[in-house]
Symmetry: C2
Subunit: 353 residues, 2 copies
């Protein structure tokens, strides 16, 4: 098996270094030899090659079974023009790989409830997956440019029927394997694209009579995620709405340092990355939480390598280490004792033996 | 003075009925005769005339000093085509009046903290105004239609420089009169319109050296509104971002039934409305909270009639009634005693005597 690792910027290299160790342990445990290769992306790629997504990186990724990404971006590159900024590398690799479905599982972790901004009683049983459309919508539609010599500007929210159908079907499939409830989020009272989105969800719903479907307006979803987060099972939505709502949902449980994501296409390799960003303020100081990256490895094992059992083992090991009271700084709370990146990594990996 | 009241749908007629009483009391107190006239909007207008915004309503509004709206929409009209739905009436009157700046003050109310989904310690000192661009952006840009015989769809996020400048200036002016901090929210790492938005904020910042400016990405803003809501003073953002973030922020303090809004243009009448919607589930049962509507009247007195002192009196009266322990059902908490719409209205108005 071939896995490409894209360390990227900020804390990306630190957490992917530990995730690589985890992958090596797993390969050994299952008695296989995996090819783990690194490639450049983001600011690191720009510094080395002048481009945030060098062609070699794209080639290597396309030839892999799966890709594990750290994070991209940082103040160092904020002054660059849009098309060579680190984020352009991330958007580029998503588009090139055609990974149209971004899965973000969000759950409470027993023992971490104190870190949540929400009252504990609201967090009971929070366990949802946000399925965000990732390669279309407002992010990629054309035109996207200045007009009239800079006197106006336009971005475009464009979808083909096919683009909406495939991500909605993916979301229905996921719901079927869980609590069988799908919440489709749109702004059908204002956007034409949302009206089409809603129609498509309605018509595909016929193929999934076992799944309960509800439609929620995006503004109402933003409220209900906070008011009653445990009502959600699977949520599916447009790229930009998904960006906003998944970050909102990520902080509910107080464990953004624990949240993984998987980006999947119809075929080809999946792209796995922690939800937390590059966190330039703590980069290089050895305190970053590697667990979102570990849980991203678990998703990789499950979705790209078909190793469901091993994925489950990794998740159990993480849970167990947390339950034993070990905390990285982001989870510990002010003034409390904490472990560093390497130590947390070692704890989980030794748990796996 | 001429004030047009648009009761609309759901609980709209109930809360505007009490707001009208408040306006009558105020007119009498200041020794003036005000012309208070009603007009049709939303589902009520559709049922009576086949249009959610009859031309007579637009005319009457344009001839007024200010407009007080209840709410529009409800399941009864959800099956209608987009252009005659109640919401089209609301978007239409905003556009026709040119009220480009939607002001939504959000604050904690002492005594209502229990109703918040957030931990009490996070709510200390929450007091912000979200300034949402209201007549441009993704809501109104063209094209907004199906393409290729229904095989694709497009919505358009379009802004002229002028449209961005005027709302940003408005937000700076408001910040200057408050704690002098402005947070501009955009998605400059992805959208061209956001990059232009950010440039404009930067260049106007030069005219307001006394105001501190920060830029936040919309996904990050969605997180920080929950993690540290008291860091915000004035927030300015695009129409769709503002729709999502202001509803998210509205639930933080647990008092969505208390939140007013004002929509202002460069000239002409302002449009005032509660943030809560038409709440069809409780419509007609006499339990709706009239206080968001009362506080909208306070904003009307302040911004459109120049009666700052009276506005302050109304706000103080509301505060006092809440502090005395009176609660409508939405604020009371399950099983607790509560007062109805008319009784709450009477309490505040008698406090004003
Ligand atoms: C870095 C940025 C372009 C990216 C996005 O908006 O998609 C990030 O916020 C994310 O959610 O993965
Ligand atoms: C009813 C709807 C069209 C409206 C909007 O999206 O502007 C509402 O959500 C609001 O925020 O006033």
């Amino acid at each position: 098996r071939q896995i490409t690792i894209l360390p990227g910027d900020g804390i990306g290299p630190e957490v992917t270094k530990e995730a690589r160790r985890l992958l090596e342990d797993v390969a050994q445990a299952v008695g296989e030899t995996w090819v783990l290769e690194e490639a450049l992306i983001g600011g690191a790629a720009y510094d080395a090659t002048g481009q945030p997504l060098p062609p070699e990186t794209v080639e290597k990724c396309k030839a892999s079974d799966a890709i594990l990404l750290g994070a991209v971006g940082g103040p160092k590159w904020d002054h660059l023009p849009g098309d060579v900024r680190p984020e352009a590398g991330l958007l580029g690799i998503r588009k090139q790989l055609g990974v149209f479905a971004n899965l973000r599982p969000i759950r409470t972790w027993p023992g971490l409830l104190l870190a949540s901004p929400l009252k504990a009683e609201l967090l009971n049983g929070v366990d949802m997956v946000i399925v965000r459309e990732l390669t279309g919508g407002l992010y990629f539609g054309e035109p996207k440019q200045r007009l009239n010599g800079g006197d106006a500007v336009v971005d475009t929210l464009y979808y083909t029927r096919h683009e909406i159908e495939r991500v909605v079907r993916q979301a229905f499939d996921i719901a079927r394997g869980r609590r069988k409830k799908l919440t489709s989020v749109d702004k059908a009272n204002v956007l034409e694209s949302s009206r089409m989105w809603r129609e498509i969800v309605q018509s595909i719903a016929g193929e999934y009579p076992d799944v309960t479907v509800e439609h929620l307006l995006v503004d109402s979803a933003a409220m209900q995620l906070i008011q009653r987060p445990n009502q959600f099972d699977v949520v599916v939505t447009e790229n930009m709405f998904g960006d906003i709502l998944s970050d909102e949902a990520a902080v509910l449980t107080g464990s953004i340092g624990m949240l993984p994501s998987a980006s999947l296409g119809a075929e080809g390799p999946g792209l796995y990355e922690p939800v937390h960003g590059s966190a330039p303020d703590i980069a290089g100081s050895g305190v970053a939480n590697p667990l979102a990256s570990f849980l991203s490895v678990a998703m990789l094992l499950r979705h790209s390598l078909g190793l469901e059992d091993v994925a489950q083992h990794v998740e159990d090991a993480v849970l167990h280490v947390i339950e034993s009271g070990h905390r990285t700084r982001d989870l510990a709370g002010q003034g409390k004792e904490s472990v560093g990146t390497e130590q947390m990594s070692a704890l989980v990996r030794s748990e796996l033996q």
